[in-house]
Symmetry: D2
Subunit: 259 residues, 4 copies
């Protein structure tokens, strides 16, 4: 039976590409996303065309028991979840405090923090019984500092970051590898950045970034590092890693004042 | 009319002492806590005996509109809220992931993160209209790193920390001073540490800490710094400050390995 | 005998103003700077005119034994050094790697890191014998993140920051309070910012910053917080604190991307 | 002509193993260490026996022009330096402030900070001309926080950390990949940990760490990740990554207080 790589948040960007990469290495990819059955089917088919195996689920993560039931079903019917990739975002764009409703703020937490807690609570007992397992969590710069207009996103991601640390602190010695992976640049992802910016401006941005169109973070290249981290020997586990394009400015570097 | 210093989370530790300190300087103290009407009355009386003025409210912060209504009532009936001290904790003790229920995890967030969002959303419009105001937020080491068994506390405090940064980023230039105050040591507070440890062990701990009983963080001394920060000139605002006893080890200092 | 507040790096900005503030509170101010005897004399006289007492020294900190001898002389001839304010900078402006010479890089370290090590090594034995003392260290954003063109400044300040942590870790429990004070904004200081920018541009900058000219960090207001930190009760010592103007953007806040 | 992977600090631990790993992938390994010609010869021979190519140099990094001349000679005589691995440590053990001499403090800086500055200054012009290159810098927990007795090590490593950030900030967009690699655990390295602890205690420690002797960080496994990072596509460069064993406690996790 193939080991399973389960991806929660499997769009056409990071999530889908990570699923593909693991499938190429002999994992069965389980791909979960909230909507777009067609996009999901395309993703499964592209993995199968590539010689791999995959299963897709539409999953509304914020619904009670949705993640829990899906994890139980995968363990029962498909195979042992070796690697869980938690890739749900909670980006809202820039919204002032006055325009941030209680509902929006809570939704961000449910997506970015609480869903991860629920996912870990559901899958870690299986992994702990097997004495091994990997949880790869995609995170955002907002987990490290709060910019204006990011009340929802930053607080939800800040909660996620600390949760990853408590999970790692409790479970590393039990053989479960938690990695907190910071994507500190704009990802060349039509489902997320493309939708936020609109098709036209997204294409302009892509073309403006370098001759070889690699000034945006390329999700298929991200997938290489996700896979590497998942394969690290347990004597050299990475907990935290960042990635950005060579043209990106790291979040801690202000533009220089001109004097 | 006196300016108001409103304290959310006004027990016998930091919150109550900060309220007293502001009352000594001519503020009207508004003291809010979840329960213990007697303790609240004692606190109000001790401020009045000291020549100050104060009002107490029992306030269940996680109830919808509770904070919002109280802030509106204070602004309408008592006076302009110059300083809001947000001092609610969400300490649960050490609880493994398996024993952390969804309900507990959510409650932590409601207390530590969401309540702060709601408080800021309610009070900042008043402060912004006046072009000035101060929000002092007590925070814990768990906002900076997640220890084992702190899934709830650390994720809630991590969310709080990032929220404070987004609030500061949006409102500093509008004249509202946000300060994130880290208490990185055990506080000599009967209502919190005393209850967690039990009376007897709490007394033992107090006595073990230094000849002058100041090895725990003394809340009346904390209050001095809260007051100082609130009075800083706007050209020298502090956003982040930590405090610990001279006998405490800073959170980033491991015990030294013996080789 | 008055307690001494000794300032290393006492120009017309932070250092001089901190010296003045302590003198107003009954300390004897010892003011050390590398050059400008006239400026130093003016500073001493202004403290005396204000009813205080002060002594000035020209001190080339990077010369062997200069700091050590001066500290010994103050302890022998003037009084016990209660508070040492270490305020030497090592700002070089923006210099590319190719233009950063070995000599320049080393000089930065000698000023910003090594001088602090030497000062602490010289003064802590006196303080330790007395069971108390305070070391206030001014630091810069470059201690927290390295911007382009800051090879010298950032590495020297990064070394300083870690040194402050090791000093605090060894000496807090011995009664010596170390505080690492981040000034994260441009200071309204003619001797430093004024010289870097040139008189005319400096005046333009000052006038552009707010109606009340307080959009630059005002050194006399900084001095209030230095003094407060020095007076904290040992049960509530601050190790790290930041300050910036209400119009400054905190170093961790990027300008928002416009989408 | 093979691309060169040059390792400064190539003992039997991380440095030597990283050299071997690159040699297996078709790089010519240039191995530099301060002393022990025999150990160096053994390392070169083990790479050759493995089918690779390597050259060894004894190099006293703190001598003026030593690093610079070696880099120039490699570029002239051996091949283009594609990857420079900077792996010099400056661990002094635990030394109180009183026992830390000026000379010791300066030596730490020369080894850990200044040598890296000199190495980057020497090799980056070649890399920049070629539009690509990689600098992998091994760093220690002391770069992130200063423990007692680490005055020399922490300040030198703190300087190194900030220098890596300024190098990255200036050179990423020019095609040079700088990575700051934190080894946050004890490495199973006879040349460093073995010497600090003594043979016998080192063996005891090794045996106490897990049934499969992988509770220490295994340098040959570290080498896998060094190689992966060096091969990352430039759209997904990692700047910062940590590694520790599954049995290690991350530096930010205090032991839990028992209440």
């Amino acid at each position: 039976m193939k080991p399973v790589c389960m991806v929660i948040g499997a769009g056409a960007g990071i999530g889908g590409n990570v699923g593909k990469r693991f499938a190429q290495e002999g994992y069965h990819a389980v791909l979960c996303r909230r909507s777009d059955q067609q996009g999901l089917d395309r993703l499964v088919k592209s993995i199968e065309d590539d010689g791999g195996t995959a299963t897709g689920f539409l999953l509304n993560a914020i619904e009670p028991d949705s993640i829990e039931d899906c994890i139980a079903a995968v363990e029962a019917d498909i195979g042992p979840i070796d690697t869980l990739v938690f890739n749900l975002g909670a980006q809202t764009g820039i919204v002032s405090l006055g325009d941030t409703t209680n509902k929006m703020f809570e939704l961000g937490w449910r997506l970015a923090t609480f869903s991860l807690f629920r996912a870990a609570s559901a899958v870690f007992p299986y992994m702990q019984k097997r004495g091994k397992g990997t949880l790869l969590v995609t995170t955002a710069t907002a987990a490290f500092r709060g910019n204006p207009g990011q009340h929802t996103h930053a607080s939800a991601m800040g909660g996620r970051r600390m949760l990853c640390q408590t999970l790692n602190a409790e479970f590393a010695s039990k053989g479960i590898h938690v990695a907190h992976i910071l994507i500190d640049g704009m990802v060349d992802a039509p489902d997320t950045l493309g939708k936020i910016m609109g098709e036209e401006r997204f294409q302009e941005l892509r073309e403006s970034r370098g001759l070889e169109h690699d000034g945006l973070v390329l999700p298929e290249k991200i997938a290489e590092t996700y896979f590497h981290v998942s394969q690290q020997h347990r004597s050299t586990w990475t907990y935290e890693i960042d990635m950005r394009s060579f043209t990106d400015t790291a979040w801690w570097n202000h533009p220089i004042l001109d004097f």
